[in-house]
């Protein structure tokens, strides 16, 4: 596996598309945060702080990080299908499990670290405008983000499964697009359930918040920083279960597939 890992790492370090995707999504995230908070505005003092942006994570950073995980997992896992190098590894005598997990674990590492960087770095430009503020403590955001990264792990494993089954980027992305389209056609707004990945992300960043509009137009929003322990534990458990399931299905499929 180490040899597989090294060869994959060598290849991926020089793969510009991953960096470009990350940079584009990171830029989109930063823009959304900035346009939502408008730190350049002249209206009376809405609090443009990093911790305020943390409270927006469920609507901003989290969906973008999940999107990054899904796209990148398919991209990274599918690279060797595209250029057929996967066959060379198999012909070289490596076991299918070794070949699969060598790629899968690296894919997981890339997506989880990329998502973590989006979650942590995207709100930072607001530090120049309003500082860190005190809307939400760092430890609170940190714990929620850690559990969220397990969700990213799950999404990555789902992407790996889709890629292993379809074996082509276009097929994999079309499948993902169809699944998203199916979700959009459902009646009613999404509930913050932990079972589907897209709403589980928002559920992790729910706060009992309230706002007060003060005389000079300043909107002070206070957030209940209590950690929903039940939600976090359930989310973590479900994420690990689903990740294991999809990874196992993908590994089985890969081991039985005809190359």
């Amino acid at each position: 596996m180490r040899a597989i890992w090294r060869s994959q790492t060598y290849q991926l370090k020089r793969e510009a598309s991953i960096y470009i995707i990350w940079a584009v999504l990171m830029s989109v995230c930063v823009c959304i945060i900035l346009f939502s908070t408008k730190p350049w505005g002249t209206e009376a003092g809405v609090t443009y702080t990093v911790s305020y942006a943390w409270t927006m994570a469920g609507d901003c950073q989290a969906p973008i990080a999940m999107f990054f995980a899904l796209i990148t997992s398919i991209l990274v896992m599918g690279m060797d299908y595209a250029n057929q190098t996967i066959n060379y590894d198999l012909l070289a005598g490596y076991e299918r499990k070794t070949v699969f997990f060598g790629r899968a674990l690296l894919t997981i590492l890339i997506t989880v670290s990329g998502a973590a960087l989006i979650m942590l770095l995207a709100p930072l430009p607001l530090a120049a405008a309003g500082g860190f503020g005190d809307s939400l403590p760092l430890w609170n955001y940190g714990i929620r983000t850690l559990v969220f990264l397990l969700l990213v792990l799950r999404i990555t494993c789902e992407g790996i499964f889709i890629m292993v089954v379809t074996r082509k980027w276009t097929s994999a992305y079309i499948t993902v697009a169809l699944l998203v389209l199916m979700e959009e056609t459902m009646d009613g707004p999404p509930k913050n359930e932990l079972i589907p990945a897209n709403t589980a992300g928002a559920a992790l960043f729910q706060f009992a918040g309230w706002s007060s509009l003060h005389l000079n137009g300043e909107i002070i929003t206070e957030y209940d920083a209590t950690l929903p322990i039940d939600t976090l534990l359930l989310s973590a458990g479900l994420s690990i279960l689903m990740a294991s399931l999809f990874l196992a299905m993908a590994a089985f499929f890969f081991s039985e597939d005809d190359f």
């Binding site: 505005g41 009376a44 699944l179 979700e183 009646d187 009613g188 897209n198 007060s212 005389l215 499929f253």
Partner: protein
């Protein structure tokens, strides 16, 4: 929701049955992708739960779909059949379990109430000032939410929420339900329809001398045929003397001042009635009569008509004016939102927008003066408030010195008092000059609007008048989003120039701001409003201004 669940069950069952056929006919070593059929029910469950939500009684479908996934990994077809069968059985028996599960798709209104209650208990800013007993409120209203859970009735839960909010006697404590203005209005109207009782063919209003009289009598209706006419006095309703009947009504539509509540109390008397109500009244000859009237349909339309006549909310275009005499202009200020936008969407609160609104108002004032106006009637009836930072912008156009607007405050742990942290004053631009200004208000003049009125009342050339006081709610509003409703309550303290709570009523339920003139709703006013359809308050203001000089 039930149909969605049935759909999910049907699809999962059919897929499981299909997989039986596929296992029998397909060689999975060649057709590997057919194994995906085992995973599809599970993926459907993941997708479906996004909007339908998790439901414990559907665990059969969730478990069955998960069991089917295990078939994905098997190579022995016999084992596949067994596990497939186990999964199919789990899925198939789900409807039986769901039908017998009493909490199937139950919405937990009680949990929602508890969440909102806990937040209010911690953050409601006027608890001590109004002497709110939260424990008593909890004991009183929790059973109503439990009843709503039992009957799975959202209207019941919404009514419980609204009545809970009324108990605070604060116009800034309220709930909304719905994701659009239309839905919010629909839910609110449904509540009012359930509260205003049956239509007996008349409304009731209270005159300034204390008498309760008939108003808005349906011509040629049963009540009319029995001798009831506009202006005749009612003495008892449904066996209860009228004063007692009024005392037991809800503080609808006005809350925030006991005088305002009294003004509208009679409107709600008929809510206590049954399908046939016995009543006594003084007829046109002065003789007491006893009759029985029949209640038909709901009273909401008549209630609204009567209320609209009493309140006469200003519905002209915001910041528009017209000359009502050679020297008097009538300016509409029915919203503290930018450019008359009376939706509740958060307008862009930028200096540019304020400049635009301010420029428009300056222009209007200049035009009025050019048209010969040196007296102004500012109609703020129905102005429900909006952005507080509009107050100094508007008021500055009428003041030639810095006038106190309000202070927002923070709690000082040492002095155990709320103390000002920011105080706002008008600037001194006085475009209008020193001409007389009359401001018209009613019980719907609320929030930022009544803080504006409070500011203007400090000017020597301003007189405020109306049938009632303003709403009586000047605190900063906080809100929280719950599962089915949005709950709003006073969450930020506003103080007057003496450091006391601004405007809001304390435990006495008397708001702290009284208009200069409370126009008596006497017989003249009654006849003008209900017989002639006149705007009596406006006419009173015009007459007042004419007598000024």
């Amino acid at each position: 929701m039930i149909t969605d669940d049935i759909g999910l069950w049907a699809v999962c069952t059919l897929l499981a049955l299909l997989m039986f056929y596929i296992v029998k006919t397909i060689d999975f070593s060649i057709r590997l992708h057919y194994r995906l059929g085992f995973a599809i029910p599970f993926i459907l469950v993941l997708w479906f739960t996004a909007t339908a939500g998790f439901e414990i009684s559907l665990m059969g479908i969730y478990t069955g779909s998960l069991i089917l996934v295990f078939c994905f990994f098997l190579k022995d077809k016999k084992k596949m059949y067994r596990i497939l069968l186990a999964g199919l059985v789990c899925i198939a028996i789900t409807p039986v379990i769901a039908l017998h599960y009493k909490d199937y798709r139950i919405t937990h209104y009680t949990d929602e109430f508890q969440a909102g209650f806990e937040s209010m208990k911690e953050h409601y800013i006027l608890t001590d000032y109004k002497q709110i007993d939260f424990d008593a409120l909890y004991a009183e209203y929790l059973p109503r939410f439990e009843a709503a859970d039992d009957s799975r009735s959202f209207p019941q839960a919404y009514a419980a929420w609204t009545d809970f909010c009324l108990a605070f006697f604060d116009g800034h404590v309220y709930v909304t339900a719905g994701t659009s203005e239309e839905a919010i209005r629909l839910n609110r109207d449904t509540y009012y329809k359930s509260q205003v009782g049956a239509d007996y063919g008349f409304s009731l209003v209270t005159l300034s001398d204390g008498r309760t009289v008939f108003a808005n009598v349906e011509p040629n209706g049963e009540a009319y045929d029995l001798g009831i006419r506009n202006g005749l006095e009612l003495t008892s309703f449904d066996g209860v003397d009228i004063q007692t009947a009024k005392a037991h009504t809800k503080p609808i539509p006005a809350v925030g001042d006991s005088g305002n509540v009294s003004f509208y109390q009679s409107l709600m008397v008929t809510a206590s009635g049954s399908s046939h109500a016995d009543l006594t009244f003084i007829d046109a000859r002065g003789t007491e009569q006893a009759i029985t009237v029949t209640g038909t349909s709901d009273n909401y339309n008549r209630y609204r008509q009567t209320l609209d006549l009493l309140q006469h909310n200003n519905e002209d275009t915001n910041l528009s004016y017209k000359m009502i005499s050679d020297d008097t202009a009538l300016l509409s200020l029915n919203s503290m939102l930018v450019e008359g936008d009376i939706t509740y969407e958060h307008a862009e609160a930028t200096n540019e927008s304020y400049s635009g609104m301010k420029a428009l108002l300056q222009e209007q004032l200049q035009n009025m003066k050019e048209d010969g106006a040196h007296k102004l009637i500012l109609d703020m009836r129905g102005n429900g408030g909006g952005y507080l930072d509009m107050i100094p912008v508007i008021a500055s156009l009428f003041t030639d010195s810095e006038v106190f607007v309000a202070s927002n405050a923070a709690y000082n742990e040492q002095t155990k008092r709320y103390e000002p942290v920011q105080t706002v004053y008008t600037s001194a631009e006085n475009i209008w000059g020193n001409g007389e200004i009359v401001i018209l208000v009613n019980s719907n003049t609320a929030s930022a609007a009544e803080i504006f009125v409070h500011t203007m009342m400090q000017l020597p050339n301003v007189t405020v008048m109306g049938f009632t006081k303003t709403c009586g709610s000047a605190m900063m509003v906080s809100g929280m989003e719950l599962s089915n409703v949005n709950l709003y309550f006073s969450g930020g303290m506003t103080l007057d120039e003496t450091g006391e709570v601004l405007i809001d009523a304390d435990a006495s339920r008397i708001s702290m701001m009284t208009p200069d003139i409370i126009i008596p709703f006497d017989e003249d006013a009654f006849h003008a409003v209900f017989e002639n359809g006149e705007d009596y308050v406006l006419d009173y203001a015009v007459s007042y201004l004419e007598h000024m000089h």
